[in-house]
């Protein structure tokens, strides 16, 4: 090879290497930027509360993904419903719950378990005559949020400065969606565990352990603000007979139904708990004995009128209630208050059942 030929080849290769270095520089630069954003996102959404995660996403996701608009829906596989969890669409304030068939795009992403990317929405099969006036560009991307092949939500991305999504953007979005899925799933698991730790597994009411904490806190609050506080203890009458006659499954169903009645008659700040076996406790803040009596009576009457059906046989149950009102001037403890309500309940039982007795007094309220 002569010198001229060598110089020519060398020059050619220098040009190729220059192009290659530019390309590598561009791709590596973009990768680093994406990595930087990904790490920042991961740090920002390593939270245990879903609400906190959604708050962060609403503020930061558009900047992290270089997009203008996004919406994130959580998927309830039992109800086959999508509920809007967070977004940055201006003016959108209402709670949105979509059923199967309401959003073809998201339905498709869920059914396929993979993203749906349309470069021109108006030309896509999902277009039915309306476009969002917010969007300058007509493309969209819908990514299912998945954990171990289970879909937990859907992320919709729209619009950006460039006017399109390329394959590098797409890969980045898919990586980001995995981080988001993981954070949401972790927070959901944490919140579920937290909920289960204070909830009775059968009835969904507050469990006995948490009742103690809740009642102590209410006693403290009641004394501090000098507001009344009452407690109702309820017990299903002849519950053993229900188990013996209809079996334990029906017994459980009765407990679930009674709990459901109690919950339905509770106010938002009341605490309804399963105290053990067939015993329930209702903590009623801002309520004196008389008010508690009214609520207990409503529950008692509702339970009495409820008809249970088991293998074609209809039956009913009744409950007895004992009420205790906190003496805000005194020094009653949690167990003192429970003791008074328990004593009243015992009195209701021994005096014929299906009645309400206010502890510390002689008032008896009998239904039927």
């Amino acid at each position: 090879m002569d010198k001229d030929r060598f110089e020519k080849l060398k020059k050619q290769e220098v040009n190729v290497i220059r192009s290659l270095l530019k390309k590598q520089n561009e791709m590596l630069g973009q990768s680093l930027l994406h990595l930087d954003h990904l790490i920042y996102l991961q740090k920002s959404i390593s939270l245990m509360s879903l609400a906190d995660i959604f708050k962060v996403l609403a503020g930061k996701l558009p900047y992290i993904l270089f997009i203008r608009y996004f919406s994130l829906f959580l998927f309830d596989k039992n109800k086959k419903a999508l509920s809007l969890a967070c977004h940055n669409h201006p003016g959108l304030t209402e709670k949105i719950v979509l059923r199967q068939g309401d959003s073809e795009i998201m339905d498709e992403a869920i059914a396929r378990g993979s993203y749906v990317l349309e470069s021109d929405y108006a030309q896509s099969r999902f277009f039915h005559g309306t476009t969002n006036s917010l969007f300058e560009h007509n493309f969209f991307l819908t990514i299912p949020l998945m954990i171990e092949n289970e879909i937990i939500g859907v992320l919709n991305l729209n619009d950006n400065e460039k006017g399109n999504f390329n394959v590098t953007d797409l890969d980045y979005f898919l990586n980001v969606s995995e981080f988001i899925s993981l954070s949401i799933s972790n927070a959901q698991s944490f919140e579920k565990a937290e909920r289960l730790s204070v909830t009775d597994g059968l009835t969904g009411l507050t469990n006995r352990q948490h009742l103690e904490a809740a009642l102590m806190s209410e006693i403290f609050r009641s004394r501090r603000y000098r507001s009344p506080l009452s407690l109702v203890m309820m017990d299903v009458d002849y519950f053993k007979g229900v188990n013996d006659t209809f079996g334990h499954q029906e017994g459980d169903d009765v407990l679930v139904s009674v709990a459901s009645i109690i919950k339905s008659l509770c106010r938002s700040h009341d605490v309804a708990a399963r105290y053990g076996g067939e015993e329930f406790v209702l903590v009623l803040p801002e309520t004196n004995g008389s008010g508690a009596r009214n609520i207990a009576e409503r529950v008692r009457e509702e339970v009495e009128s409820h008809r249970f059906s088991h293998e074609g046989k209809v039956h009913s149950v009744t409950i007895s209630c004992g009420i205790a009102e906190l003496d805000i001037e005194g020094d009653q403890s949690f167990s003192d208050l429970i003791g008074v309500a328990d004593g009243a309940l015992y009195q209701a039982k021994t005096s014929g059942r299906n009645r309400t007795i206010l502890g510390g007094g002689d008032e008896i309220f009998k239904g039927g």
Binding site: V16, I17, L20, S31, V167, D171
Partner: protein
């Protein structure tokens, strides 16, 4: 002196590839999603990148249960995203960096083409012989000369001197290398694939392909790659680096238990395989 010991060639960054080759693959990658598994088609014509992919797949980082012998399997396990990063960080081979007036007659493109043609022929021969894992034969054919590539990349002057001596003294290149450097391109290749954790069967191919002394150790995989190399050379796809170590067909036919007649029957299909590879390389 740098690259004076076999271990010097086992670099952290891996084997360099031709700039034009990397540029073409990167261009393709820019148009391909990391979710697209057709990425394999884009990397299968580059022995340097193939070696890096196999190295990654056999690394403790991924910790797969068994050693990975095929580029196809490695690509499937690693996923397109990891492969994209491997391509992106492949070192560039600068062929004309000398300013001292040394005019290298080494044709690296020819070397690369020889590896891919050998791979295509090895895969085709394996299919004709009834082997099911043709992807392993392809991979073995593609990387059989990584020692030569490494020497050509890092010590081109020494390699050329060795070639000249081998020709003038009518010796094999590895004998000259052994005498001159104390190690051979085969040692380099074997050391590399051992260090990268590649499976024994691929190491065996590298050991056997350039060494007539290892004839007795030839197995099916090595035999097929050696025959593929033999065919590639006879069809004008030599690697451009004389080594004097091409095993005779008779010996290979006996190892593979085939005849010249069998091979003649397979030639049209094999030629088709090679044409496809050459078109892809040139296209």
């Amino acid at each position: 002196m740098k690259f004076s010991k076999v271990d010097d060639f086992v670099t952290a960054e891996g084997l360099p590839s031709l700039p034009g080759q990397i540029l073409t693959i990167l261009g393709e990658l820019g148009r391909t999603s990391a979710m697209d598994y057709t990425i394999l088609q884009k990397i299968q014509y580059d022995p340097a990148i193939a070696l890096s992919v196999l190295r990654a797949a056999n690394s403790p980082l991924y910790g797969y249960a068994s050693r990975i012998s095929s580029l196809q399997q490695a690509a499937g396990l690693l996923g397109p995203g990891a492969i994209r990063n491997i391509v992106l960080t492949t070192p560039i081979l600068e062929r004309y960096q000398d300013n001292d007036g040394f005019h290298s007659p080494l044709d690296h493109s020819k070397l690369w083409l020889h590896m891919t043609v050998t791979a295509a022929l090895a895969s085709g021969l394996a299919r004709c012989l009834g082997h099911s894992e043709t992807d392993i034969f392809f991979t073995a054919g593609l990387i059989h000369g990584v020692g030569k590539i490494s020497l050509a990349a890092y010590r081109p002057h020494s390699l050329l001197e060795g070639v000249q001596l081998a020709k003038s003294e009518e010796m094999t290149l590895i004998d000259i290398e052994q005498r001159t450097f104390g190690f051979t391109h085969v040692d380099i290749g074997v050391r590399m694939v051992e260090a990268f954790g590649l499976p024994e069967q691929l190491i065996g191919v590298l050991k056997n392909c350039y060494s007539s002394r290892n004839e007795d150790l030839l197995g099916q995989l090595s035999g097929v790659v050696c025959l593929a190399r033999n065919l590639a050379n006879s069809w004008g796809f030599e690697d451009g680096i004389y080594d004097g170590a091409l095993l005779g067909r008779d010996r290979l036919f006996s190892v593979l238990k085939v005849t010249e007649h069998d091979l003649e029957g397979w030639l049209p299909q094999l030629r088709e395989n090679v044409d496809l590879v050459v078109q892809a390389q040139e296209g």
